[in-house]
Symmetry: D2
Subunit: 417 residues, 4 copies
């Protein structure tokens, strides 16, 4: 069922905005299909949201910012629902406490799917409205982000079920070849052009394009693997404070951390339940603190977001920005043949998530999309196996708090030259 | 549908243990029927459990203590489920954290209903086993307790839904007559026989029967009403520390308490959603701290459990111990025509929940049923509109922590003579 | 220095109220004398108060309830200080948060001692005022309670100092003889007269005197010793949930409890620093949960407060209610030759701290002395090595929460006959 | 007394390292002199430390890293004290929990002053040891940092005293002239040399010197004043989420923030107690969140640390890097005649505290000085009225968490050109 869904994913060959719209909206529904009403309702922690809520929130986005604001005489499907499905837009008024999203046994998934269908039908006239193009593109990119969150949030919830509940029955694919020794992409330093500079959609936080000054450095040509992480553990990596940032060491002590999230002896939890962990697959579900400690242990460091992007913009055929196979049927990180920078897991940089020079948030409620989160978080680059194909790009800036690790997060080493 | 279910409730006319078993087990299922898979899965706080969990836990009780322990060659329906559905029996091994019960999107309600049917079929041979009679009676009384908890827990969860979700569509019944002025049952004091002393089942904490010495006192012949509580509020009852126990005042300040749970202006939340609150109906969903403060304000006090029981044992035809109409279709407190001590709401006593003289817990895991909770809680007497008919009796001891109020809790005043 | 102070302690031979007043007030100062300004200022937890605060609070009591209320034209020594030194009397207005008492580096101990002297001089005229006698007696009993708290609070603070800070240089005395095997005081049951029924001062919570009905029981003639507690530990007492109340087991797990407070290998912390722990001395600094678990392990139970008092009222010359040697120079529990019920440590009962029949708190602010704490706490009987001689009596009711153990708390077993 | 102390402060005219050592060490003692033993012992929050602890910790630094490591046969003054006075150096072994520093009623201030004298005498031979010069300079810079912390920590503690305790009796000086309208230092952008590049001591986090690329910008020539902050408050600045970072808004809501720390109507708390707040003095004791919200409200932004440093390195006689008048007798921010970048309060930048290119922490325990804190904090530039003269410089990087505001923190606006 997912394979079918993926075939409908937006791509460069999509002819029209309308086509992209329906493919994207359809994929969200397809992703939620294997979930029972109960699966789709539960919330495992405040950081995560129920699948049902993702279905509703993405619809609220289109209903509020497109239909309500741009379609004359449109009446809200249910006037009480914006309170339920507004995420964090202060300008949009009061809303359900984030920690209470798991209390939404009503409305049902079926009722929300009806709402989705209603909105998807009502929106047709706006595809040809030039004033709506940018907002529609934003809505689709927003929905793709929530597709990934839906997958990582439900993974977190299912992992807490002692039965090891699976969402899909097929086993996760495994690497077919051993991981190659690490090679390095060298960069001579100098002035690099950073930020969104191509045609097409980008989030506001990817701009303005601007220059950055780099010192000579090298970026690893592949991700750190599970086997390498095992060596870090075996060498006492989680017990040596000298390797850790002070906040990280406090986190390790307080939470009793001694391995990545979802590790249990030789197995890892996946959307297909507990599965043997392949030593040559990239390590995932680590925090920034862990990534930084590993890099110290390895005598390297994390790259800056500018270094990472500069390599991604290199004219190097092996760095396929398309990624090719994200959002696999099994949502499992797999080393890419072409060593793509995209597609296995988001990669921590040492860059704090801050505004680019001359950055200005958009006017109105959508101005709350990115700018107000520029504090306390770190930038991740790339894309993960749960990122829909075509969603990411060289200038893409993902961001999380340094302790969070329920996303498909991994690391790629860097060093000074 | 519930009316039908109630018709199947155990009563004195039930011919056999088997008949009681099937009526009780069937009622639990009937109570859960109006709930969606999502309703039945969510957990609103650590004190409450999902409806689905109650369905499973009551079944686990019969499977563990009857089938596994007494039916030769019985094999567990699913060996992983005891971990999920053991509540607090340390002797039965590890178990799911209480706060994680809301993560059980699997197994589904339907799977648990299959398990229930399996256990209900397998248990047939044990009805005629004399060694099992007491355990079966305990299991049924246990299941009846969870019927009440199922109702109060789901009420709490639905109340958190901003849509005001209802479980039943019928409106709650309202008192047909104004509350009468309070009258008093006088008692001359002296030695009273306390505790279970009749034929039939009782929990271990109701015994041994023993003597208690009472001073002359009087117990009100009806419960405090919503209108009376309104007067308490209007008189500044929630703002005057002189009325409150020190722990209670700290609770009021910390939690910002200024009215009973489920009150919102003139409405109260019920299983049928938000409904107008009738001034002559008994006040419910108050904590011990609130009950005690009200009694101080009214120049009275709470009764001891011994005083309450002594009145209940009086040869007074108006004190129908059967209650007559608990577990109404609408689960709503209604003043009883006969001023029964049973049936509207549990009534706080000022007695701490402690062992009776010579109390000994039973051997084995079921010995954990009551005794280990004899610390920090207070005794409540009577029965509520959510207590199944025939479940309670004069010696019955319900118990909760002084801050808890999600049960149907109210108060009946007492005074010294 | 302390020996001298103790010689000034009130006793039956004290001729006048004035004499008692000055002896008691002087003892408080003497107890604080070995403390530096810093020792007297720090607060180790919210339950405890700085020694300086005790010096001020006891003075506030006399200034507020005696001088201000009964001495015409008396003007407060400093109008800002009642805010600092009111403990919990709501009727006396706002006050410093309890958790902030450790921030009172000002006023200095010396300034507070000046205040004490001022109040002690100003109060002279009231000794002959019949309207003040009861309040003065209450003030002195109150001050004696704070003498004990001063000692237990500073012990807790000094114990947190990694240097093992001592308050006194003399070593704690040790038992001179091995503990005798436990004997039992048998009681035939029946109606006992409970509560204050003698001449002289008593707190309001000790009355009214009333009858209580007892079943036949026996009370151990000595306290449980350190050696016996060692056996409990060695037998896995802290690891077996079957021995514990549910709240107690949660406390053990949450706090990682595996021994009494102030135990460290073979040593215990005392006011004279870390000292070898004598196996035959009574165990102290245990919580109610621990006492209850030990009693279960020993196949016994805790007595009720009524049972304990009934034994204390027995005409038995060995039960010297005077205690004889409380408030030793070294404040260390020692088995009493006469097996007194008083003097080593407070003894847990299984009785919840509740009002006696017909109990009414006093009018006015002093009515907050006891009654409002009658929730969630347990009664302790006897007296400890830190209780001033003559302070306790058979009807005395001390009370603490079941998890607290920074007082000199121990246990005496009981059993049914 | 402080004026005298300040006259002994290190300056460029100090002839020798020994002279600097004794002046710096003496100033710490002078700063603590007005404090009572109790003042010097209390700890008001985990972020702050007792004055006594600062006296000990700075001495521990010299004893451990100089005397113990470089003076043959040196024996520790007290072997138990490193456990008390190690702050966070994991390589130096276990240490007292930070939250327990306020429990150190022992050792006394006097004992610590004896230790200081002992160390100050013993260290003489090392002044001529070339291997020790850098460590000695580090120790002195470290001690100067703790001088500022001693002042800000005791201010926080005294402010919690309801009596409004003062440390100094002289009133804080006030601005003599109204604040001038804001002018702007323009910068054309381009490559700037950043980081320590002069002779003399600098912390490791100030290097390596490296190039940074700047866009054209302007930096305000004075700090934001109290009057301007009043306008921000009056305009609803603390109630408009659109002005705030998401984390900042959550902080405002959670903590109930509506004004800077130490504001109370028209007064501010100072080391001289509560004093009228001058409208033309720079605003201080604000958090990063508040600084950022104010800048948004003012239509500006915070500078980056690179922009600030670039302006500070401009050949502009008005930008006296010496500051001239820090550590005033009254430790109160005053607008500088020369509009110095240094001397009133630390100024928030929007730069996250991260390592400079090719940064490597030093080997050994002192390598823990800075690097491990490079996560979650923001850089502040300049110096405050509590910074000793000569301590700061253009490359200096102070850093705090975005919610902290007990330092003398303020802001200077920036804007794009």
């Amino acid at each position: 069922m997912l394979a079918e869904a993926i075939a409908r994913v937006p791509s460069d060959t999509a002819d029209t905005l309308a086509e992209n719209y329906h493919k994207t909206r359809g994929l969200t529904v397809a992703l939620a299909e294997p979930l029972s009403e109960a699966d789709a309702t539960i919330q495992s922690m405040e950081d995560a949201s129920p699948a049902k809520w993702h279905l509703g929130h993405t619809t609220w986005f289109f209903e509020s910012f497109l239909l309500r604001d741009h379609l004359p005489d449109y009446r809200l499907y249910d006037e009480r629902w914006p309170f339920l499905f507004n995420s964090y837009y202060e300008a949009e008024g009061d809303r359900l406490l984030r920690a209470r999203r798991g209390m939404l046994s009503r409305p049902s998934v079926s009722e929300i799917l009806d709402w989705r269908a209603h909105v998807d039908a009502a929106i047709e006239p706006l595809f040809d409205d030039p004033a709506c193009r940018d907002l529609l593109a934003l809505g689709l990119a927003h929905e793709q982000q929530h597709q990934e969150l839906l997958l990582t949030d439900i993974k977190h919830a299912l992992a807490l079920n002692p039965l090891g509940a699976a969402m899909w029955s097929n086993a996760a694919p495994q690497p077919e070849e051993p991981a190659a020794p690490v090679g390095w992409h060298d960069h001579p330093g100098g002035i690099a052009m950073i930020g969104h500079q191509e045609q097409g959609f980008a989030f506001d936080n990817e701009g303005p394009a601007h220059r950055a000054l780099l010192e000579p450095f090298a970026l690893a040509d592949r991700l750190v693997t599970n086997a390498e992480w095992d060596a870090f553990i075996a060498d006492g990596g989680y017990r040596d404070p000298a390797l850790w940032l002070s906040d990280g060491w406090a986190w390790v002590q307080r939470e009793g951390i001694d391995k990545p999230l979802y590790w249990r002896e030789g197995d890892s939890f996946t959307h297909s339940g507990w599965q043997p962990r392949h030593p040559d697959a990239p390590v995932t579900h680590i925090s920034y603190y862990e990534a930084d400690a590993y890099a110290s242990w390895a005598g390297c460091r994390l790259p800056t977001e500018f270094e990472w992007e500069a390599i991604a913009r290199t004219d190097n055929p092996s760095l396929d920005s398309d990624g090719g196979n994200q959002l696999d049927a099994a949502v499992s990180p797999l080393p890419r043949g072409g060593q793509s920078l995209f597609g296995d897991c988001w990669q921590f940089t040492r860059s704090a998530y801050l505004p680019y020079p001359r950055f200005r948030p958009a006017e109105g409620a959508v101005g709350e999309y990115n700018g107000k989160f520029m504090s306390g978080q770190v930038v991740l680059k790339g894309a993960s196996c749960a990122t829909v194909r075509g969603h990411s790009r060289a200038s893409y800036r993902n961001f999380f708090y340094p302790h969070q690790r329920w996303q498909f997060t991994g690391l790629r080493l860097a060093k000074d030259l």
